[in-house]
């Protein structure tokens, strides 16, 4: 009886340990030191102008990307799914393209259809004003205008955990 119990404890412990190494719970890492978002005004691929400060009071998911960057491309469908879930609910998605023009982005959106705004940082001035070191990098700006979270590399943007985090951030004023 005791031997059986020992064996059960061993198996449970082993599975628990292995599972804890395999489990992947994607969340947005919090910044140790949140900082005020640097405002910008950029023309979008659609011809509209997008100013960050005009979204004050909402949560902004600000994704820096380029068409030639594979992980940037990989996360676009999930980002579009996120946009479909949060549109009109106090969360905004901005896909800031770095260094490319409207023709290149237009061609890209033929393969990866997205409906959220794609402001163009053609001369790289906006990305230089943020501490970005690689693409894609995504910042989350809370309703008070503070950058509170950062994700380096692609994420499952339409996952429940990330959605929950973003919806909770709406309460910050």
């Amino acid at each position: 009886m005791k031997r059986t119990l020992s064996l059960i404890i061993f198996i449970v412990f082993l599975f628990n340990s292995i599972y804890s190494h395999a489990e992947k719970n994607q969340t947005l890492p919090k910044l140790t030191k949140p900082f005020p978002a640097v405002d910008f005004s950029l023309q979008g691929e659609d011809g509209n102008t997008y100013r960050l400060s005009s979204y004050r009071g909402q949560v902004v998911v600000m994704n820096f990307w380029a068409t030639w960057c594979p992980p940037c491309r990989d996360e676009m469908p999930a980002m579009e799914n996120l946009w479909q879930k949060v549109k009109g609910k106090g969360v905004v998605v901005l896909g800031i393209n770095v260094g490319e023009n409207a023709d290149i982005i237009f061609e890209f959106t033929g393969q990866y259809p997205v409906s959220f705004p794609l402001p163009m940082d053609i001369d790289g001035k906006v990305i230089e004003s943020y501490p970005v070191r690689g693409l894609p990098t995504t910042y989350v700006v809370d309703p008070s205008g503070m950058v509170t979270h950062r994700a380096v590399g692609s994420r499952d943007w339409d996952g429940d955990e990330i959605l929950k985090q973003l919806m909770q951030l709406r309460k910050v004023r």
Binding site: K2, R3, L5, S6, L7, I9, F10, F13, L14, S17, I18, S20, H21, A22, E23, K24, N25, Q26, T27, P29, A66, W68, C69, P70, P71, V98, G99, I122, D123, G124, R133, G134, L135, R150, A151, V152, G153, R155
Partner: protein, 209 residues
């Protein structure tokens, strides 16, 4: 001794210790090599507790085409293509374990060992000096900067980058790479042996199959 009076308790302790070692000792650094499924080219992968680094060969013809398309002239694209470029993905995978921890690195700390001599990687900042001296236009510099792997980075659990790292060696060169990073409060150092730069070949369609 207690194992004589209470063998069941002794066996329980042994089993618990065994499971601890299975789950933790097997997480020691490992290097694997093979053919990357997507690129269909050789890769070298270093995996340790909380991190994984994969370096995949890039053919000179791929780098040449990529940088010509970004606006570099033929000589500049050729210079990059002939410098041993690897597709690089460095991930903080500590979110997959029970102990998430930040990871940081500086490519300037990494060492390339070839024929017994040590040298460093050619990083973004080294290249940018050349492009500025050659008056390469800003959009072209911008594309280059973001295509190259970040020289320094700090990853939280789940973070990673994807980019090109340049080893500044001739095509087909063989070398060892010493990788240094900090995680869980400790500096880690591992060497990937017998890496090889891609050959300067122009594969025909039938060779790629």
């Amino acid at each position: 001794m207690f194992y004589k009076t209470s063998p069941q308790l002794f066996i329980s302790i042994l089993l618990l210790l065994a499971s601890y070692f299975i789950c933790h000792v097997t997480l020691a650094a490992t290097v694997t090599t093979g053919i990357d499924e997507q690129a269909k080219l050789p890769y070298w992968e270093l995996k340790d507790q909380g991190m994984v680094l994969r370096l995949v060969q890039r053919l000179p013809i791929q780098s040449r085409a990529f940088f010509l398309a970004r606006g570099f002239n033929k000589q500049q694209a050729e210079r990059i293509a002939q410098s041993c470029v690897f597709q690089t993905v460095f991930k903080n995978i500590s979110d997959e374990g029970s102990q998430p921890g930040p990871l940081s690195y500086n490519l300037r700390d990494w060492k390339v060992v070839i024929n017994g001599k040590q040298k460093g990687l050619k990083v973004r900042e080294d290249w940018m000096k050349e492009w500025q001296a050659e008056k390469v236009t800003k959009p072209v510099q911008l594309a280059f900067e973001w295509a190259l792997y970040p020289t320094q980075q700090a990853y939280k659990a789940g973070d990673y980058n994807w980019g090109m790292s340049v080893f500044n060696l001739k095509p087909s060169s063989k070398f060892d790479l010493t990788v240094i990073w900090t995680q869980f409060g400790n500096k880690h150092k591992e060497t990937i042996k017998n890496m090889e730069c891609a050959a300067d070949i122009n594969p025909q369609p039938e060779e790629q199959l």
